[in-house]
Each structure stands twice: as structure tokens, then as C-alpha cells.
Subunit: 130 residues, 3 copies
């Protein structure tokens, strides 16, 4: 089963929880056991699984990525968004979550985050359940 989600990001950089959306897709698929593949078709955004209870955690990830990958550097790519591309590769473009008894298997504190690094933009998320 394949589903495409549309997402409108609002800031230049933000981590948006997509856990609820993915969970709903899994429930509607009525697949009891398998895996969910979440893939994003963008090169200046990423996906990561991390703590969803305290929003400060993803803020800290985003802020530290800005230190690790500074805006000022002799980048060759002329569009000014090289840091966004680099952060995208550090976070990765897909996530994998096990499905058991019809539900996404996530740890107590885990959530799935869409990482916008070059927004605001219209974004897509592809979900495949097997």
C-alpha cells in the first residue's frame, strides 16, 4: 500500500511531528504485521526519529546542526542552501518502523519528525507499507 502526504512547512527550519499521520495510515491499511517505509522526495529536508515529549529536544538537534554545518563557508553550490542539503544527508531521507498487531512499533518517547531545512515550502511524504 502506497500513500502520499502533503505538508506545508511554515518556517525556514522546523521539525514537524508526523507520527499521528503515519499511525493513521498504518491503521487504515489493516496490515497487521510488516514494516512502514517513510520516504521523502526532497534534498533539503530529512527525516528522523527522536523524542516527541519535550519539543526542546528537536530544537536542540536543529540548533546543534546549525553549529555543525555553518551558514558561512566557501560553498560551491550557488543557491545558498548547501547547509540544508548537508543536514538532509546527515538525517537521512527515509525511516523504517516495524508494524505489529496493526500498530506502529515506536518506543515510549519516540516520534517521527519531518526535518525542514530550507522552508517554508510545500513538501511531500511517501509512505509504503509491506
Amino acid at each position: 500500500m502506497f500513500t502520499e502526504i502533503q505538508l506545508q512547512t511554515k518556517k525556514q527550519e522546523e521539525f514537524l511531528s508526523i507520527t499521528r499521520m503515519i499511525r493513521e495510515i498504518v491503521k487504515n491499511s489493516r496490515i497487521k504485521d510488516g514494516i512502514a517505509i517513510i520516504q521523502i522526495p526532497h534534498t533539503t529536508a530529512g527525516i528522523t526519529i527522536n523524542e516527541s515529549a519535550d519539543p526542546d529536544v528537536v530544537s536542540d538537534i536543529s540548533r546543534m546542526l546549525n553549529i555543525m554545518v555553518p551558514d558561512r563557508f566557501d560553498y560551491f553550490h550557488q543557491e545558498g542552501n548547501s547547509p540544508a542539503h548537508i543536514k538532509a544527508s546527515l538525517m537521512g531521507s527515509s525511516a523504517l518502523v516495524i508494524i505489529k498487531e496493526g500498530d506502529l512499533m515506536l518506543g515510549t518517547w519516540q516520534g517521527i519528525f519531518f526535518c525542514e531545512f530550507d522552508g517554508p515550502r510545500s513538501r511531500k511524504i511517501w509512505v509504503k507499507i509491506i
Copy 2:
């Protein structure tokens, strides 16, 4: 087939090889061809595949992550373990290994490592074989 492994980490930071455990689960599953998905339900630990022959390699990965993600920074999250969360996202929360002829397909030097960044703790590893 789904299996849960329990793991007790002993240090604040350590990379533990779980290759043998995963290999055994794959052999016991009697699945000849497929993939193994190894997922961890934690937000201050990660999983990575790297060299298992010389333990200095994973020490160097761990030590360089400590330089890249310093302990001292104006972190918003008040639990003091933001660096562990950030390293978890850099390493990722799942690994994927091809299964062929009933065995895990890994390169000669590759091992699968559980990366503890906020131990010692009781940890879990989920393994799904399809």
C-alpha cells in the same frame, strides 16, 4: 518474525556489537532470503554498522561524536542529555541488512553496533525478519 532483545549497557557511552545476536535470530528464523530490520525504541541511543575487527574504530567514532556534539552548549532541554539525543539522530534508530541463503549479508569487516549515548541503562532491540 519479530524478536525483542534485552541489553544492559554498562557505561555512559559505549558501542556494543550485536552482530552475533542478530545472526542467531536470522538463523533460527529459517528464512532463506529477505531482509532483517533492526530497530531500537530509544531516543538517546543509536545503531550503526561499522568495523568490528579493531575496537579502536568505534572508539574513534564515539570520541569524534563528542567533539562534534559538545557537552557544553546552551541546550534548551533540561535533562542534560541533549548531546545523546543529537548523536542518536546522527547514527539513526534502525539498520537494514540483506539476508541471503539463510545468513546475514555483511562485509568482511562489518559489524552491527548498538550505540549507547546515555547509559548505563536497560535497553531493548527489536528485530523483524521479512
Copy 3:
């Protein structure tokens, strides 16, 4: 279906697009819907999905990784290639791409890159389609 690709890298560090090779394998498999798992059996090389239109983007990723993971550091591992191992873990050893209607699902700007960090070497790429 399992396929092994051989690759000869030419430089110490380079990002090589393998999109066309993977796309051909998917087409030849005649599998209409599923996923492609691309795994590399090496510990000083990685795999990433990023922009393929402008080659400056992967140059910038490679150059920034060299700043993040400096050559000069008190590495324990005596082979001199610890930075390559660390970069391998940052990029990851596998990629996952959804297959739909017999084709790889990638965004307009996305390509799949083999990341050589310790070349030139003879390398392998494993592709599994399910």
C-alpha cells in the same frame, strides 16, 4: 531478487551517482511494487540520497564532512582512515527506495550516491528488491 554491482572508485574521496544502475536493476526485475534495498559491505564508504542536478552539492557535502571530521586528531585506530569510518557511519551503509509501477520512486532532484571516503578502491554494492 539479489544483485551485486562492482564499482571502481578513482579518488580518495568522491560521491558517485549510482541512480542509473539501480534504476536498471529495478526495471529488469519486473517487480511492479515494492522496495529496493541498497546496501554496501564496506566500512570506509557510505551511501546517501541527495541532489544530482548540480554536482557542486555533493562536493559541498564531502567538503563539509572534512571540516566536521578533521584528518588531524588523536585517533586510536592505527590505519590512518578513522575519518573515513566516521563519515561512513554519518552517511549510513544502506538506502531504501520505494518501487511503484516498476520504477524507483525518487524526487525530481534526488539521486543515489556511493560515498567513497578511503579510495581509490574496488567496491561492491548489493541490491535487494522485495
